[in-house]
Subunit: 235 residues, 2 copies
């Protein structure tokens, strides 16, 4: 109970865990989810098969850890982009910047984006903190929509958000932390539409669907978000 916060044994343990995850990440980048093979990881790290199970309960546990890491990493990237903006940035410019940050992160490491937002792994069940992570990513988008005046097109969504926030305390608290009172429903609607807009462009681009076509994700994204800003009457 005295002094040392981490025994040397635990230190070593964390180190090899990190090494395992690093190799797994490389395999993921090279061949997708199914290419993450415990046996090959073990061989590469200098261990032999079953020894890996001393560090991860199962292959799914490893992947879950990678998913969690990817989420927090993406949230950090978006958060950093938000913090880098001057205080007087227009909502429209803010949306553009955040969306671009999101896309840049995803395009730089497609496999990690596919890991968190792509096809769910066959049997896997999402870790409970996934919702929190998703909220952490979308949080910086919320204030951009505060004070927005939704057009007729997106007003039904805002209406739906109102009943959602009323029923889900965690969501209401999350919205309240980013947005002045009264604007929650509109901001939530904006965030959700930003989410789908992001995924629409990034998801297709990352999956390689734009390959050989004459359009790139960047202009599509800014167009999408400019249109979204228009729909919310943002300057």
């Amino acid at each position: 109970m005295s002094g040392s916060r981490l025994s040397p044994r635990d230190r070593y343990r964390e180190q090899t865990r990190a090494e395992i995850k690093e190799i797994a990440l490389r395999q993921l980048a090279e061949g997708g989810t199914t290419a993450v093979a415990l046996t090959r990881i073990a061989k590469e790290v200098g261990l032999s098969g079953p020894a890996l199970y001393r560090y991860f309960d199962s292959r799914d546990a490893l992947l879950t850890d990678l998913i969690r890491d990817a989420y927090t990493d993406l949230a950090a990237a978006v958060g950093a982009a938000a913090d880098a903006l001057p205080a007087d940035t227009s909502p429209r410019a803010r949306l553009r910047a955040l969306a671009a940050a999101c896309r840049t992160w995803a395009v730089a490491q497609p496999h990690r984006y596919l890991l968190i937002e792509g096809t769910p792994v066959p049997g896997y069940s999402a870790p409970p903190d996934t919702l929190d992570s998703a909220r952490a990513v979308l949080g910086p988008f919320l204030p951009a929509f505060a004070g927005g005046e939704p057009s007729a097109a997106v007003r039904p969504v805002a209406e739906q958000m109102r009943t959602w926030a009323a029923g889900d305390a965690a969501v209401a608290e999350w919205a309240a932390r980013h947005v002045p009172a009264g604007d929650e429903a509109v901001a939530l609607a904006g965030a959700v539409l930003a989410w789908t807009g992001l995924h629409g462009v990034i998801g297709l681009e990352v999956a390689g669907q734009f390959a050989g076509m004459g359009h790139d994700g960047a202009t599509l994204l800014t167009a999408q978000f400019d249109a979204l800003a228009d729909a919310f009457g943002l300057r």
Copy 2:
């Protein structure tokens, strides 16, 4: 060389091929792509392991066939929805109807949507006719944007489409078939944005990301497409 268009042998062959695909589809629905196991398919169809390779060159060949089927099926659904519309349908209503048809198809069989638009299978390379299939799905969207007047937000996309169509004859021909001359660039921009809009909502919904949240895909989709119609000045 006379009469019969299909020898009894070929008939039987096509029949078992269909049976194999049917079972594969069921396995896909139950456990995702990785759950499609040739061995179990063989057992279920009453054959023994290697016999399946008389009908499909490899597991990838089977999946490719399923992908092709899903694409043509989706294209047929969208096409049918387009044909069912009265001639005087407004562009906005047309967009809504087509988007809804697309989503209905996807939500009814999520696994098949994930198969065509989800995470690419590890090593697999898309069949060359995938592009044609994607165009077949999006074709009915094109005429809705003819005569549209793109706002500043989406104008850059239209500009990009112009150079794209100029460089890709197949795309130009495809656009010309659905839209009067002169409107190609705008219509292409609309179609591509419709594509990303569709995938943004449907992809997330089908992947189960909306589970436990207070919003449903239908209102999100119509909102997205209403906003898109606004961005193109459609009535």
